[in-house]
Assembly symmetry: C2
Homo-oligomer: 366 residues x 2
Amino acid sequence: MYSFDDLVRFSSKILQAAGLNEEKASVIARLFVTADAMGHDTHGLKLVAFHMPDIEDGHMLLEGEPDVLQDRGATVVWDGKRLSGVWLAQKALSLAAERAKQYGTCSIAIQRAHHTGCLEAFLPELTEQGLIAMITNSVPASKLMAPFGGLDRALSTNPFAVGIPTGDVPILIDMSCTICAGTKIMRWVDEGKKTPGYWIQDAQGNLSNDPTILFSEPKGTLLPIGGHEYGHKGYNLALMVEALTQGLSGFGGADYSEHITPGSTNGGKADLSVDRLGPVFIQVTDPEAFLGLEAFERQTKHLVDSCKNSRPINENEPVRLPGTKGYLGLKRAKEVGLELYPGIMEDIIPIAERYGVELPDPLPGT
Amino acid sequence: MYSFDDLVRFSSKILQAAGLNEEKASVIARLFVTADAMGHDTHGLKLVAFHMPDIEDGHMLLEGEPDVLQDRGATVVWDGKRLSGVWLAQKALSLAAERAKQYGTCSIAIQRAHHTGCLEAFLPELTEQGLIAMITNSVPASKLMAPFGGLDRALSTNPFAVGIPTGDVPILIDMSCTICAGTKIMRWVDEGKKTPGYWIQDAQGNLSNDPTILFSEPKGTLLPIGGHEYGHKGYNLALMVEALTQGLSGFGGADYSEHITPGSTNGGKADLSVDRLGPVFIQVTDPEAFLGLEAFERQTKHLVDSCKNSRPINENEPVRLPGTKGYLGLKRAKEVGLELYPGIMEDIIPIAERYGVELPDPLPGT
């Protein structure tokens, strides 16, 4: 078990050694450790190793600020220019929070952001200010889902997250439009496991629980929420996410099919560097601009209580609210430290050694 | 088969005879017939008979305007005062469209709206202006869904609809957070049918396809999207809809449990009239405030084409986009007329006769 702050310092030092400045590195490191603390261990410090090649070969832009392509007050568009998506999203959420307090609501679309990491990790900072926050992204070059009734990949997994203040533990939603997230699939492949349900279809459209068929030819696809029975629901959500992210940022599938990327920082040509790029859409709404935070939380608190008070189907599994586990996990990690998922520290150690960054000491007695 | 305009005139006359003024009646009638033309026959003219008791006994407020409780430009709150939800939503969408053109985005929360009818029917008018529109509502007194893992009703079906311009046929999404809509269940009960899948759980939490158990004691519940396997997804969406509608409008479950309703038009006490009331949340976004409609539609058109070009699982069922059937159905109905779902005209005839409103003539040769 490690101290939360030690892990942030440790990973920040690695990111700095690889070329990010202190401000960017510390924002990114804090969000990675937050993700681990919230239980999103596929999107926490695991990303240090995942992002490192792109940081080292320049596919992630390490320095500078996003270009402001449009700013109308309540709506903003940035070109993220391949900067860290984690850092960009955090910066955009801060701006959107400020603007939401002024206009009541603010939407920001970002084109060409590098990987955004764990979406839920951004939310507690917003809900603690009494704000409703939404963040969603798509990855046009990484399609995993076929349209409902189809065989060919046309959509990415399209995660979206929503944070809702309740006056107590917030409601934190983080879900993909596919039955499960792509990173879960990668973990099951790594661990030689089947998917818990028939959440995949093979290249002929047959249901399967074998995650390896997403990566071997002829490739299968990850099913939308609702699967073969009512997968129009997940398909609908995916279309909505792609329209908001790609349409409003002006960066998406249309650029890939035409083998160009908008903007100019990579010379207008698609290259490997765009493959992990995604457009991001952020929206922050201030209940104070409606009938006030108190009126808002009076309803959301009641909603939470109604759900919690529902008798559970299985006596030993009380009804939960989304985000409670992650939020309390984060609180506990800051107080007493956190364990990392097996293999994560082992992946980072060679990188730390290469850069001469000292490993954090495990907490005494752990 | 009837002419679209004849059906609008006919149903508007009935609504006027029952006490609504010409403006309100014609807006509501046009949206009812639009819903039928788009294939939402549970939310079209069928609602004439469904709304009539509330119109006749005063549970729907027939005259007046909503009270403006808050107006910050890009955010607005109305008290709908039990006025027709169809009329209120249409009016709010018009205002939101105007404001979105000014601010880039506009969100409007409405408390105490009577039934809003078919959400998808509102969308074409917005997408034709090149706007993205979202409309969602909940009905705090009409809970059908238990939280994921629970037995007791805590959430309504929470429909939401999103319209997305593409430069051609728009993407029109209209879905509930339960596996299917509540009105579909009512129709299957009426017709003595089972649900197409195991979309219901009984009072003990067992899966069922018998829709009657939603209405007989001990009552079952309609499952969230994802069912027993991954129903946290539908549960997440439902929480989001209830927070936006009830939280931002300041009218929701908290008012029912405390046996009061906010505002004053019904004396501050809950009564039968509130039972069909719901808060509504509307959001309109103008792509012109981002990188322009052309840049937006370049991406959404590509998205539509990618989906359509996917090989279908079943050769005879090409991949469809949500909204295409409804949009083309509406276009066709305006050109050549429409058939009504069996039983709908039969339900209206006694009402028309009671008010002395002449029935529309079927189109020649039909």
